[in-house]
Amino acid sequence: MSKVYFSTWRGEQINNIGKSDDAWENSAYNLPLEYNEHAHSKAFIGWDGVALFNPDVDVVRLATEYAAQYQVYSEACGRCAPGRWGGRILYDLLDKIARGEGSISDMEHLKEVSKTMQETSKCEIGKTVPNPLLDLMTHFESEFMACIENQKPSKHYHLEDTSYIAKITAPCMDACPAHVDIPAYIEGVRDLRFDDSLMATRQTMPLAHTCGRVCPHPCETECRRTNLDEPISIMELKRLGADYETDHGFGFFHPSEKKPSVGKKVAVIGAGPAGLTGAYYLALDGIDVDVYEELPVLGGEVAVGVPEYRMPIDKYNQDIEAVKSLGVNFITNTKVNADMMRQFEKDYDATLVATGTRISKKVYCDNERPEIQGYWGAIDFLDKVNLQVKYDIMVPEADQKRHMLPSNFVDLTGKILVCVGGGFTSMDVVRCAIRANAKKVVMLYRRDEKTIIRNTTYEEYHEAVEEGVEFIFHSAVAKMNDENDVLKSLLIDRYELVPDPNGGRPNLEKIEGASFEMECDYLIPAVSQSADLKLIPEEWEIERTSWATIKTNGKDYMTSRKGIFAAGDCEYGPMTIVNAVGQAKRAASVMSRYVQTGEITLTDDEIMEDHLRKLKVYDKKEKIKGWLPGLPRQHSEVLTVDERRDNNREVKYGFTQEEALAEAERCMRCYYIAMVAH
């Protein structure tokens, strides 16, 4: 809900100009009324309409500036005849009218050019730029006509009292936590310019191989093509650019040249996706970066958590090499503690904490004692599997004993493993257990099949079922049974959904008498993880969230202590790779300015990015014009069950070139331009 004088946003028709207070209508949308803490917005104008927050807005100038911004923001234009010339003509004619030299025929030409742009432009930006302009010309015709008839400039034409801030976006870009320029990288594939594709990705996302494989792709949920038939396979198309770079042994296609050193130093704690991303963008900005990593290997959870068959380490290492190639210094086998943090504060200009969430939470059942053998946290279980599979780092003797392993790797031959979970981590556990030759692998999940698919992916769930994982839905562990501290069996309760008689959400209720006992050698809790924040010196009194993660304002990622930043799971709680990347990218940008100026600021682009995310760019009700429905989404081939269940080969082959091109052709290039006047 927003208080506006006038709005045509998403088809609403609100005009409160001249109305009394009690007759005012509010806009139904989260429009950016406050640009930032220093400035109120005067107007918002974009692909889907225009909203005025101030009665004094010069609408003729507003229209002119919007057309001008389309010219300025030309990365997304210049690529089709209607957009290139049409955009220029819009601007020239509007400016002519605004400065008091227009004629009636200019209004006609504006409408004519607008129509052709709307019908034939290459991307949505060209198709939609005329929309708010026509709205203004229709609803405020008198103001335009006044300029023409009197041959006088518009009311604020010669005043520099307003800032016009524009921003390019797209539904997918907006949905992506890292705001990757998705249409650009898909266009790179379509045009067979794979280097351009990769550079577009790396503008905001250095881990192209990784997020071309194991991203839960929230972008696809907000892909506009869904309104027509099926979403674009956005995630997998990212691999084309990354593979091109790797296959041909090019150096690294960075989005811009590394700036010369600015003589500032930053410490990054943790070499996972957030740490790597922070380091990458700080280094690009000419800042010296030391990354401290507790493990002997780089990559964090993606390296030691995500299994080889989903994320081959040689591909991930390419992403890591791209970061290294900028001169980032990595210090492994070094667990940072509070004393070191105190020292870092003196030695470095800023510190980024990106330590993730590496403590497996309990399942909260009776007799859940960590000393029982067979009780094995998911994070540690996956560490042991992946260190051996990917790096040949064998399980140390003490751990072998602790976990009852017959040899120095995770061999579950003849064993029964039960995992409690429902998210990606638990899927990784059970599928790794299959590959470790377990006799039986069971996943217990409190909710139903539909929810597990929503929390992971359809493919992930079905592949696990195919490989032989047994899923028991609506179930939970009630008790662990042990003999002399060795796990023997589990008591499992069953639940059912009971509809709320008051019409609310149905409740999960235990089914009395349905509990049963299940033999079991290992219980792997994979319900969630928490952050280990012992490294933060207590006297810093850094604020925490109610989830016991580090608190920031979610915009600049500075903690309550100046110069100490946090990003990724340790800030947000266990979340996705792309979320960690997005946060760390923003944190790096803020930190880069902070170490150079001492100030915490956001760029206009970042402010607009946050505004648009609040407004939400994707409109699932929109009817799509100008694209033919019924062109199916491409699916890349996967290994058969027999080919994959006893080894760590990558399950997905990835697109063939033919599939990739067909998929890229489906992308509708839904770029939009939005602008705030303040």
């Binding site: 005849a81 010339w85 034939t120 009817k623 429905p629 082959y653 052709e665």
Partner: protein, 751 residues
């Protein structure tokens, strides 16, 4: 097959075809300004929008495949209005300089402006000053540019130079050199060819003639074995009656074919002569007394047949070491494959999703093979393994695995490659034991190619479906060429690979099929035809009897794709021809092309007369040039020999390799092509040979010495330098094994 309708008429499309492609096939016209059949759609002009019964707005026909039952309307008032408006936009501020523009008369913008009746500037926008760029052989005028992006697409997708890109800037957008201040490319000029307006033009041709004054002579390029289609565009040089005509430029049917820089810019190699009877008599006398004729493969099939007839009539020998090497190679090859020719072609390379290249410097040896590889790499994501002692920078964006072997060890490398590729093939016990008995450890160690390289090839190719093996010309003159050929033939016979052998010259293959060649042991009284001899005739300044050059002749060549391709006379020649000489010996024919129908049927020629040969492409790209040679069955009698001890090449080694766009004495004669004659080497080579950049050096080959300037080339690595051969005579590149141990002596510095 997808069935749909266009304007109510039923049409069908293959999977992967777009509405535009299906429409064109069915004979419907949809206007376009940026569409190029051989690249991915540029999708910039938007003229090809159509209406359908399943969409509200207009959709783009060039990038949309039809769906079953779709009803498409390709002309309507609504479409006409929008298309007209697009043309009005294209015409905004387009400079009114058609009077002097090179493109005028053949300009897509002119054509479409007239087609849509845009007779005045309807919209206006502020004009902008834009400077003309001078990029060597190419000029770019951004104010004429309509930003269709065709140039950018061919450069990246077909050529592989990836030397230009679009600088996005809305109204200010333009084409700029990529990662460079000026254009840094191989100057194929294909960007000029595809430019629909006069924005990209040949700097040499600019302002010299109008499109409508030029006569297009369809011909076949003579510079390498690809047999590219081209048009010599000729016009008189003066308005006076009887003004000599000359070639003004070369163009190509760019929708369907591609041309390299040598083909496009290297056309002025003809020379004039009058009939000099005295010299003619000397030539006849020389032949009468000759023991042999030495000739190059830059010759038509018809003249090759005349030489064969002269040989038979006079009982003399025929020398052509280059073609003889190819002949022996293919004889050995056929003895295993059972076919006279290899099975691959340029088209097969383009279609491939996996390519292995062994033993040749493809980017300079045969640009069309390179372009076919680029096409495959970009469009099919082809995996490309390049095996050679020297890395090639130009191929980096094509190659996915570079395998470096030691000079001279090709037999071992090909044996290991065959073993790898035949691993899962059904090859019988004898062959199996042959490969089992290969001394893998020795071959890998001596060739310096580890078994992990072969394992990687095996893994990469396991899932690929359309595979090509390209045999470079290094292997043709290898001491062990015959066994190498048999190993390659084993691969084609027992796997899904098709093989292409990169023949060196325009008609190496034709000569090898037509002539019985003798080993060139030198000797006295040799008549050279475009080759050294005691008496020489041919098309060079130092030929004693001047005969017409290949752009002044009609006849046919056999291309690398086994096509028999016609070429025509672009410039008149008033002197004698080889046929005139043959007539003296009673080998009678009125015209040289009378021999076209007599080309040997037992080698695959089909007896078609010259005048019945087409030389054009259909509107949908159907190749109507000449005909394809029959691949004749031959007896299978060959068996593999044991791999010999692999030789070692220590010390200073040079590789005969021409610079880009240089091939032979013809390219050397032309005015536009760069003539780099330096020995190019890495700093490592320079250090070993104790020479530096710009040094004057003497290279001692076993056959003689050459004096050259040494140029330090930062793109090269390793201990082998590249020495050109185009400037020392025909066929020299491929008369011996291309690598040579030499002595290098510093003679001073350049100044």
């Amino acid at each position: 097959m997808i069935n749909f309708t266009i304007n109510g008429q039923p049409v069908s499309a293959n999977k992967g075809e777009t509405i535009l492609q299906a429409a064109r096939k069915a004979g419907f016209y949809i206007p376009t300004m940026c569409y190029l059949e051989k690249t991915t759609p540029c999708a910039s002009c938007r003229l090809c929008v159509v209406e359908t019964d399943k969409t509200e707005g207009l959709i783009l026909s060039c990038q949309t495949p039809p769906t079953e039952g779709l009803g498409v309307i390709i002309d309507s008032d609504r479409l006409q209005t929008e298309r007209t408006n697009i043309m009005r936009l294209y015409d905004v501020n387009h400079p009114l300089e058609c009077g002097v523009c090179d493109k005028s008369g053949a300009c897509d913008l002119q054509n479409k402006t007239l087609e849509f009746g845009v007779s005045a500037q309807h919209f206006s926008a502020k004009d902008q000053h834009r400077a003309i760029e001078h990029w060597g052989l190419i000029n770019y005028d951004p104010s004429l540019c309509i930003l269709c992006e065709k140039c950018v697409h061919v450069c990246n997708e077909i050529i592989g130079d990836d030397a230009i890109e679009l600088q996005f800037g809305g109204y200010k957008s333009s084409v700029i050199p990529k990662n460079s201040d000026t254009l840094d490319c191989t100057f194929c000029g294909e960007c000029i060819a595809v430019c629909p307006v006069g924005a990209l033009v040949s700097s040499n041709f600019q302002y010299s003639a109008n499109a409508w004054e030029l006569t297009q002579i369809p011909a076949t390029c003579v510079h390498c074995s690809a047999g590219c289609s081209l048009h010599y565009e000729v016009r008189h040089t003066s308005n006076a009656l009887g003004g000599e005509s000359k070639i003004y430029r070369v163009t190509n049917d760019f929708e369907h074919t591609t041309l390299c820089g040598a083909g496009r810019f290297g056309f002025d190699f003809d020379q004039q002569s009058e009939k000099d009877e005295a010299e003619f008599d000397k030539a006849v006398a020389a032949l009468q007394n000759a023991s042999a004729i030495r000739f190059s493969s830059m010759i038509t099939n018809e003249e090759a047949l005349i030489l064969q007839r002269i040989k038979e009539k006079l009982g003399i020998k025929l020398y052509n070491e280059e073609a003889r090497a190819y002949q022996s190679f293919m004889n050995a090859y056929s003895s295993v494959s059972g076919k006279a020719g290899f099975g691959g072609s340029l088209d097969a390379i383009k279609q491939s999703d996996g390519i292995i290249v062994v033993g040749g410097r493809i980017s300079s040896d045969n640009p069309m093979v390179r372009y076919a590889m680029t096409t495959a790499a970009r469009h099919n994501g082809a995996k490309v393994v390049y095996m050679h002692p020297i890395e090639d920078d130009l191929l980096q964006n094509v190659i996915t695995q570079f395998v470096k072997y030691e000079v001279g060890t090709e037999e071992g490398v090909v044996a290991m490659l065959a073993k790898t590729l035949l691993e899962n093939a059904d090859i019988g016990d004898e062959l199996q034991s042959y490969f089992k008995e290969l001394d893998e450890g020795y071959l890998c160690a001596e060739s310096n190619v580890g078994d992990e390289e072969y394992a990687r090839i095996l893994k990469t190719f396991a899932r690929l479906k359309r595979k090509t093996l390209i045999i470079g010309s290094d292997l043709l003159n290898h001491k062990r060429a015959a066994n190498i050929a048999r190993l390659c033939a084993m691969i084609e016979t027992h796997t899904e690979f098709s093989v292409v052998v990169v023949a060196p010259s325009v008609n190496t293959i034709g000569v090898s099929l037509i002539c019985d060649l003798d080993a060139d042991k030198g000797g006295e009284k040799v008549v050279g035809y475009n080759a050294p001899g005691d008496y020489t005739m041919g098309s060079f300044a130092d030929s004693m009897l001047k005969l017409p050059s290949l752009n002044a002749q009609e006849g046919t060549f056999v291309s690398i794709s086994h096509q028999v391709l016609p070429t025509n006379v672009a410039v008149a020649f008033n002197g004698y021809t080889l046929n005139d000489i043959a007539n003296v010996f009673g080998i009678e024919a009125q015209y040289t092309i009378d021999y076209t129908a007599q080309l040997p049927r037992n080698r695959g020629f089909n007896g078609t007369k010259f005048d019945d040969l087409g030389n054009f492409f259909g509107t949908l790209g159907e190749d109507n040039r000449g005909y394809t040679l029959d691949n004749i069955d031959v007896e299978v009698s060959g068996s593999l020999e044991e791999v010999e001890t692999l030789p070692e090449f220590n010390g200073s080694v040079v590789y005969r390799c021409n610079p880009i766009n240089q091939f032979n004495g013809y390219t050397q004669k032309t005015s536009q092509l760069e003539k780099d004659t330096t020995l190019r080497g890495s700093s490592q080579f320079a250090a070993a040979a104790k020479i530096g950049d710009g040094d004057k050096i003497r290279i001692e080959f076993p056959q003689g010495t050459q004096e050259r300037i040494f140029k330090l080339d930062p793109t090269l690595k390793g201990t082998i330098a590249l020495v050109p051969a185009y400037d020392v005579g025909f066929g020299v590149l491929n008369e011996q094994y291309r690598f040579e141990k030499v002595k290098i002596m510093r003679m001073g510095s350049e100044s």
